[in-house]
Symmetry: C2
Subunit: 358 residues, 2 copies
């Protein structure tokens, strides 16, 4: 790396990192899943300039630009790398493309054991160098204002796309493989987990100051299958991560959408924080696992369709629900929707800092 | 009613009704959500003959035919009325239609308080007479072989379609109304709840021997909103239902998909049984609410993509998970998928009766 990288000690705002580690903060920190996204007109303009969605991810300057856009509008306490969870399977040779209105697809989905055996573990500074370049560029441009979050999809979540060849309603192929060829599925998940460890550690080396694992589809599994096919591999990743950089701890957050029933076993993985979707009561969640981990969440994203008064009231409910003391990062319970009014995000962010636990 | 209706006392197989009421049974009863559906070639043939989906629902003879088709193939312990949850909003004048590949839509969705005030409560023996005719026909044709289940969508679930005008990804309109105009939403839910009470009581009068309320979209709410906007209205319905017909109790089952975190408060509604999706451990669920209610579920529907050996193993896991004693009706955790092999359903049904709790 030839760029000068500011050390974490120069961070002007470290509320986010402190809250994830359950250290005292002056007020509750906030960031928003998909904060760089289609609800922002400036995002749409940059996206149009870039060409395809992957062109945007692969151009470090434009990826940096969209990462910073929400920080110019809102008083957010963290930036998150602009990228996609499917960069790893693409780097493994599956041929990611986006078909209009149908979401992501793979030219070469995984069909059998031999496909899995032939999968390479990508080198993050080779096939995924464009992601690391984006991390380095964003980190430099943030210039110590707020921390940068790196991320990856969970092995199970990536496997669903890799076996189905794209998005799916019923997960028939990937669950068919899980039930009928569990050894093949475990081999696949193990290769993905190895790839994720290398990928996240490279993001940390390039400047990510916290990392988050998105288990978007863990919630479609039964409890037994969740543990065996999703959680165990996230635990392996947590165990393999670099947990310190620039003399500061690098917190790790796990988020399984629809995984509220599994918070206790998620908290045992060694992670620092759990993401909560909005179907959980945050005070219940804190009572269950708050001694072990910090919590990130969990307002219903649809609240942003409501009026400013209602948004403020609902923000306060989440903050009061968590209660006094350390260990809360405010967020939505899932990604922000594309049709909400960007002004409402100002209301949300300011309300978090106003009502936030001191 | 001019048709001769056999009394429940003539039921040849009452395992299903007994299990819902936590009475002893010779083995675990089983039926399958969407058992009359597109995975069956004979269903597709009848559907093609009928014309549109609603034509099929509105023709009592054809609705009866598709209801009975799975009972000819499999040793099922209950039949369920073939119909749609959107019959009520259609009868309220919203103009239901099905657009190819996009699911159900309404010509006149609910936009504001005045739309809600103008909504009529349908007369089940007038606007919904075609449903009651189907119930009477099916009940006659079943001829006491197994009980017939009637059903309705929950008020919240119906309201999502009525306000969104069809299916939705983010529930922006209906949640916007819930947050910004809660009185309007409560008025709407109250009218729907009144309609559902009339509709289900008419189904019971026409011959339904058990009823189930499908809360397909309760799981997209926060705990506070679930209680206020979904559960409270299901409780009102339970309180208004006829609970006895032909000298037998008519059991009521509630099913909120994604509602596993709320089993305790669901069990307090006065219902007899709760449906479980497959993200819950049935032994945990029984420990939580098994004293109060029977449980229906909960194998992952995707298990039917697996081999017969794996299906048998997974059936046994659910049955062993529930354990000895009364109060279990086997089912999938959600509707059967359309692409599974119908032969695998034979494996499932026979395995339930073989391994079932005696």
């Amino acid at each position: 790396m030839s760029e000068k990288k500011p050390s974490s000690s120069e961070l002007k705002n470290d509320r986010f990192l402190r809250a994830l580690l359950k250290q005292p903060v002056d007020t509750t920190p906030v960031w928003i899943m998909r904060q760089a996204g289609r609800y922002l007109p400036e995002y749409k303009a940059t996206r149009a300039e870039a060409g395809s969605f992957m062109d945007l991810c692969e151009n470090a300057d434009l990826a940096c630009e969209v990462t910073l856009q929400p920080l110019r509008r809102y008083d957010l306490d963290a930036a998150i790398l602009f990228s996609d969870i499917l960069t790893i399977p693409d780097a493994m040779g599956l041929g990611l493309y986006f078909s209009e209105g149908e979401g992501p697809k793979f030219k070469n989905p995984i069909k059998n054991t031999s496909d899995v055996k032939n999968l390479p573990i990508p080198d993050p500074e080779e096939e995924l160098r464009y992601v690391m370049n984006a991390v380095r560029t964003i980190r430099r441009e943030l210039n110590g204002s707020v921390p940068l979050i790196g991320f990856s999809g969970s092995p199970w979540t990536l496997a669903t796309y890799m076996v189905e060849g794209g998005t799916t309603k019923d997960f028939g192929k990937v669950k068919g493989m899980m039930f009928d060829a569990p050894e093949t599925m475990h081999l696949l998940l193990d290769k993905i987990a190895q790839s994720v460890v290398g990928y996240l550690n490279a993001q940390i080396a390039a400047g990510a100051q916290a990392v988050m694992i998105f288990d978007t589809w863990g919630g479609v599994l039964s409890p037994e299958m969740y543990r065996a096919f999703s959680l165990d591999y996230m635990q392996k990743i947590v165990a393999g991560l670099t947990r310190e950089a620039d003399g500061r701890q690098v917190p790790v957050t796990l988020f399984t959408k629809g995984g509220g029933q599994w918070l206790e076993i998620m908290a045992e993985t060694g992670c620092d924080a759990l993401g909560l979707d909005w179907t959980q009561d945050i005070s219940d969640a804190r009572a269950r696992v708050g001694e072990k981990v910090a919590l990130q969440g969990n307002m219903d994203p649809s609240t942003l369709y409501a009026s400013p008064e209602v948004i403020r009231k609902e923000v306060k409910k989440v903050i009061d629900g968590f209660g006094d003391g350390v260990g809360h990062v405010f967020n939505l319970g899932h990604g922000i929707h594309q049709h909400i009014d960007p002004q409402n995000v100002t209301v949300l962010v300011d309300a978090v800092h106003e009502f936030g636990a001191k």
